[in-house]
């Protein structure tokens, strides 16, 4: 892996992630509109939104930590991108495994929390406290799913998992229940409708984003794209055999992103403790069942 090859991948992977993320967000908004029998946003709408926010003339900041939070946010996901196995590019996947990835995905949420904390807006703080509670809620089933998968594959290195799936069968077929529980957990991770309490517009004025304006909000949209990309890639590499070529990788990503959106549109919003109770009951139960099966299979 020569030096500039790595450097190229370091630049290319996040860029690619951003582009795919944009189209994923577009797909989500389009599907949402279509289900609501609306026309839906034009083709490059997410890009226009981001650029418009970046070129806003006034960028309100509440302090250095506010900016640092946003930078940490972007940095966290960009780092995560480099460790994700993508067809054709290996990046640093050999240097860090799935546990590193889980923790790398927690760094942005902490960054956002710090940034919002500096804004001294209670709506933001309530939003963050709900976001962290939701994180606690969805991370437990997700961790059980990860534990089950790693136990089944016997390794925590993503590239090896993909290779195993290529030789044997997809994770989805060998661990259907775990895959289902994983899907619900991912749905909650994306922060979509039923579990979207921390962005409740009417109640706490979009929670953490209450004081985010201009490029701060733009960066949050960028983060959203990267987040959707990371989560879907993680899920595909765990259960859908990762991408052999780009042509089968991207449809998988869109499929994985599509299912949660379909559920999101038709659901109202849970209260915080209902989010906790629901996520700790059904997906965790399913995940533990799947884990038991994996363990029993030996």
């Amino acid at each position: 892996m020569s030096g500039q090859h790595i450097f190229l991948e370091l630049i290319l992977m996040p860029l690619l992630a951003f582009m795919i993320g944009l189209f994923l967000v577009l797909m989500m908004r389009k599907v949402r509109a279509r289900i609501e029998r609306r026309v839906g946003p034009p083709f490059l709408q997410p890009l226009w939104d981001i650029i418009k926010l970046y070129v806003k003339k006034m960028q309100i900041s509440h302090g250095v930590i506010h900016d640092l939070g946003i930078i940490m946010l972007l940095g966290g996901y960009i780092t995560a991108e480099v460790f994700l196995p993508v067809p054709g590019m290996s990046g640093f996947t050999s240097q860090g495994d799935i546990i590193t990835l889980i923790y790398l995905m927690m760094v942005p949420s902490l960054g956002l929390a710090l940034g919002v904390g500096q804004c001294a807006n209670p709506n933001g703080s309530i939003g963050i406290s709900r976001a962290l509670t939701a994180m606690l809620a969805y991370d437990i089933p997700f961790i059980v799913v990860i534990a089950g998968a790693c136990l089944y594959y016997g390794t925590t290195d993503l590239t090896e998992i993909i290779a195993l799936q290529k030789s044997q069968q997809w994770g989805l077929l060998s661990m259907p229940i775990l895959a289902l529980a994983g899907l619900i957990a991912i749905h909650a991770m994306l922060g979509k409708e039923p579990f979207e309490i921390y962005v409740a517009p009417a109640e706490i004025a979009t929670g953490p984003m209450v004081e985010m304006s201009g490029k701060y909000l733009g960066s949050l949209f960028v983060m959203q794209c990267l987040q959707i990309y990371t989560i879907t890639v993680l899920y595909t590499s765990l259960f859908l055999g990762g991408g052999y070529t780009w042509f089968d990788f991207i449809p998988k990503l869109f499929l994985v992103a599509l299912l949660p959106v379909m559920i999101t549109v038709i659901f109202p919003r849970y209260k915080t403790d209902d989010v906790l109770r629901w996520l700790w009951k059904w997906p965790t139960g399913l995940a533990l069942l799947g884990l038991a099966i994996v363990v029993l299979q030996g």
Binding site: A33, R38, P41, W48, I51, K57, I60, T206, M212, G214
Partner: protein, 249 residues
């Protein structure tokens, strides 16, 4: 959508931005950013009056604002357009001004319903502000005693065209002619009227600090802020001291 709704803008003169003062590179960016600004507008409809009921149908499946790239937003920080829908009572006008000042950069105000144009049905009432543009630079009025969603959408489309052409910069007047607006506001709310945002500071930030930005009205405001020592970063903290008369530090 043929009948064009009369659009008046009553601010007397807009300072024409001379095209060739910036270099080509700057111009390219401006046109591109105007292109994007036109394509993605975030709307904060401040339901001051009865006109707000027209907005939901504009967003939902029949008229679908989103296909134009317009999304409803909840806080002024994230909004570009401030829709004032319906009569503006004086008490609400204070909040409208506060919300307007909390918005960023290229921001547009659209007054819906005739009450914002000339007071409408409440033309002689003691409680409402008759003409909105005396207190805020208004880009566009959409007359009608609650214009239908099509009218709102056409209005928004025309605003998008203006933005694209780069002419929709009436927001700069608020900073350029702040004294005029502040006068009207002080006339309505009294001399001690001030908001947490420091408009003159922002004017300097936008490089729009012109001759007309200050006048005797702003002098009164500055006197008040200095006297209450509101100039510092954590101004209101000082205000607390003054109110409780705990001796000047």
């Amino acid at each position: 959508m043929k009948d064009v709704i009369p659009i008046q803008t009553n601010n007397t003169e807009t300072i024409a931005v001379s095209k060739n003062s910036k270099n080509i590179y700057q111009q390219a960016i401006d046109t591109f950013s105007n292109f994007c600004r036109a394509r993605s507008l975030f709307v904060l409809h401040y339901c001051t009056g009865c006109g707000a009921i027209e907005l939901p149908p504009a967003m939902t499946s029949r008229f679908d604002m989103e296909r134009l790239g317009i999304q409803p937003m909840v806080t002024p920080r994230q909004a570009d357009i401030l829709l004032i829908t319906g009569y503006v009572s004086i008490k609400t006008l204070k909040r409208v001004i506060l919300t307007y000042e909390q918005m960023q950069g290229p921001k547009y105000v659209i007054g819906i319903c005739s009450c914002t144009v000339n007071g409408g049905m409440y033309w002689q009432s003691y409680a409402t502000a008759k003409v909105l543009s005396e207190y805020l630079p208004v880009d566009m009025y959409i007359a009608g005693c609650m214009p239908r969603p099509e009218a709102v959408l056409t209005g928004l489309q025309q605003l998008m065209k203006k933005i694209e052409k780069g002419e929709a910069n009436s927001w700069e007047n608020y900073f350029k002619r702040y004294d005029y607006y502040l006068g009207n506001q002080q006339h309505l709310f009294g001399d001690t009227w001030h908001t947490p945002t420091d408009i003159l500071e922002e004017a300097r930030h936008y490089h729009l600090y012109g001759a007309e930005s200050t006048g005797n009205n702003t002098a009164r405001l500055i006197k008040y802020t200095v006297e209450h020592d509101l100039t510092k970063l954590d101004a209101p903290l000082r205000e607390k001291d003054s109110m409780t008369k705990r001796g000047k530090k």
